[in-house]
Symmetry: C3
Subunit: 141 residues, 3 copies
């Protein structure tokens, strides 16, 4: 590879990785939220709490949030429940929505029953532990 | 400024900042407590839990605690509720009592309805995330 | 002591401390669980959650867990309640089971009423704060 080609490639790499690097730089704060209840009030409170954290003037544009549902919390992600709009609103703001696969197995729920934009983790509890080890704050609403 | 004046000023600064530095030094441990329930039993348990933590022989004189109320937790700080004595007792021991301003807005509550010794934070959830980032432990009673 | 004796002693120390050092090395992740409810469903959920975390493929063999009971959570450790098998199963996998001594005093419960394999801490809340300071994740089921 000529020096010119190499230089060009380097510049391309730099340009394409820039937005990612910048978005990472922005997320000074990270928080993992736990949802383990099927109670409508608790689900709505949790989603509103996340919204409030995103809009806190001290955090705005500087916080990355992941919501981990396990146990009864799976209710929030089910197609036959009324939380799609609220969830999408959060996802549009960068919130990662994660469901515990142990819960699906224990409750005999197929992934097809959940909204297609949900992500999965082997165990919700494992996820809470790993994220904290990586420096994420933990909030149990 | 003469060297003499400068030396004098330096000494003054040192003397006045000493108690602060010492109090900071003492607080090896820091913990932020969350209160988001208006249930009397939960409120009393939370306040007693904080007291127990302050009196733990391993923490005594070495722990700084902040109580963050949001959602239903605002009840604990309202003048027309019976928690003033318990709160003042904790405040006398250095506990910071903080209320979420989002909650006040959402529930149409004026600051005048709360005890005058309460402090405020833009969002309770933001406060929980920021404090953990700064190394505070988090307890949800 | 001759040099030969000293060398022999050193080697023995090394050999005996090796398994301990290895087990410590393995526990890359540490988590402290809180149990402050006497509700049967909450107790069983908490114990199952811990089991799920232990078996998470990302954590298996690399996580150390401590369960701290205080307040109503003491119920899980009482001989006249049906959780012995579940608790022993967790203990066999290395889980440390700890009870708050403040709770025993407040509720007038003797240590003899709890299973003999339970350990004690001056205050459950203090324990949660200290463990987090030492880098343990915190989970409130």
């Amino acid at each position: 590879m000529s020096l010119k080609k190499f230089a060009l490639l380097s510049i391309c790499c730099l340009i394409f990785s820039l937005p990612y690097a910048m978005s990472q730089h922005k997320a000074k704060y990270k928080a993992v939220y736990q949802l383990n209840s099927d109670d409508d009030k608790t689900i709505r409170n949790t989603l509103r709490n996340i919204k409030n954290a995103l809009e806190d003037p001290r955090l705005k544009g500087k916080v990355k949030i992941e919501l981990v549902a396990h146990g009864g919390g799976v209710t929030a992600y089910k197609k036959d429940h009324p939380y799609e709009t609220l969830l999408k609103e959060l996802q549009d703001k960068g919130v990662i929505l994660v469901e515990c696969e142990n819960t699906l197995r224990e409750r005999n729920i197929a992934k097809e029953e959940l909204f297609p934009f949900i992500q999965y983790t082997p165990s919700g509890n494992g996820e809470l532990i790993i994220k904290q080890k990586e420096g994420w704050a933990y909030v149990h609403p």
